[in-house]
């Protein structure tokens, strides 16, 4: 990737890909691959599935590029496609999700793969406790219904604003906040034992 290509805006890259410079699509992939992969991995909870899905998402995006409307941000459109693909994947896989009204038990979330929890100190006991808490949070997130999981991922791991999430999900801002806070309230309840 040249410095000139790296400095091009997403919309300009899309325009040039559509006008025949297909190899420039690689610049867009490199620009977003880490964020999309992380988002998908948090959603599906499995690294191999996430990698396949990320690849599939970018191929889908290439196929649909002519339908992209440059009035909107490319990243918004990309995250929308990624979220829909991840939700489709989860539906096909029929995950063990738990209704939000009902607290999840450890048994409900068995078999959900987890990511490691970042350790901050050298103390092995704290390290173990941190790992366990991290795993508990990851399992709790994996137990949420896909739509709520996506909102948590977009907000807390991808770091998007409520407004950006509302645009991606094509939902009113109030609905996004409502669903997100509901999901977090449930997470807090599930984790209350872990945090104390």
């Amino acid at each position: 990737m040249t410095a000139e290509e790296a400095s091009l805006a997403d919309e300009e890259l899309v325009r040039r890909v559509l006008s025949g410079e297909e190899e420039l699509f690689g610049v867009l992939v490199r620009r977003y691959q880490t964020r999309i992969h992380a988002h998908v991995a948090r959603m599906v909870g499995n690294r191999d599935d996430a990698l396949d899905l990320t690849q599939e998402i970018f191929v889908k995006v290439f196929q649909a590029l002519s339908r992209y409307n440059p009035e909107f941000k490319f990243s918004t459109w990309l995250f929308r496609i990624a979220g829909n693909a991840a939700i489709d994947h989860l539906r096909k896989r029929r995950p063990r999700t738990v209704p939000l009204e009902q607290p999840a038990t450890a048994g409900d979330r068995e078999g959900v793969s987890t990511f490691e929890y970042k350790s901050s100190g050298p103390d092995p006991f704290s390290e173990l406790r941190n790992t366990e808490r991290g795993q508990a949070i990851t399992r709790a997130i994996a137990g949420l219904p896909p739509e709520f999981r996506e909102l948590i991922t977009l907000r807390h791991f991808t770091g998007l604003s409520y407004e950006e999430i509302a645009e991606i999900k094509q939902m009113p801002l109030g609905t996004v906040k409502n669903k997100l806070f509901r999901a977090r309230a449930v997470l807090k309840e599930w984790l209350s034992g872990e945090m104390s």
């Binding site: 690689g26 990320t54 196929q63 002519s66 929890y117 970042k118 906040k177 409502n178 309230a185």
Partner: protein, 184 residues
């Protein structure tokens, strides 16, 4: 700590913990400031949000992801219509077809050899036209002689052999795409 009789709505607790405005009760922020029990709830919610932020990052995707995507992507509409893509294999195929015809009609070859070469040229089509048993029978009858003639011609004319090898170039490109898709 005294329990609160007018406990905050859980959604407002989360909203205040996130720094957003309350969704249910407009006076929730003031209430949380005045009530230690509700302030503790907001604090706890904030701790969960902080815990989420400290989860270890997901490992990076492989460096060749972009190359893989570019290899797997379908041809664009422009590429489908582009002469630049189809012209070289089309010209090569036409050239080879023309060369084959010229060879077949060359007076240097005997009638038997011409028939044999013609039959051997049909061999690749057998796979496609398997259903047509009559054709397959004819080709099978002429194949040994045809292969013999082809082998003799290739031994005499190495340039013809090299040209024939070029036939595989478009096939290799196609095969790479098919294999890449199968791996996916």
């Amino acid at each position: 700590m005294k329990p609160c009789r007018n406990k905050l709505d859980p959604l407002d607790v989360e909203a205040l913990a996130s720094g957003a405005g309350p969704l249910q009760d407009p006076g929730a922020a003031e209430h949380a400031e005045a009530c230690p029990a509700c302030a503790a709830l907001v604090q706890e919610a904030r701790r969960v949000a902080d815990e989420l932020a400290t989860l270890a990052p997901v490992p990076e995707p492989p460096l060749d992801l972009a190359a893989r995507v570019l290899r797997l992507r379908p041809f664009s509409r422009r590429e489908h219509l582009s002469l630049r893509i189809w012209a070289p294999p089309a010209a090569l195929s036409a050239g080879l077809f023309g060369t084959g015809l010229t060879l077949l009609t060359s007076p240097a070859l005997s009638g038997r050899e011409q028939v044999g070469l013609g039959a051997s040229a049909l061999i690749p089509l057998v796979g496609v036209l398997r259903a047509l048993a009559r054709w397959a029978g004819e080709v099978a009858r002429f194949a040994p002689a045809g292969l013999e003639s082809l082998s003799a011609a290739l031994r005499q004319e190495q340039a013809l052999g090299i040209a024939a090898a070029f036939l595989f170039v478009p096939a290799v490109f196609g095969l790479r795409r098919v294999l890449a898709r199968a791996r996916r």
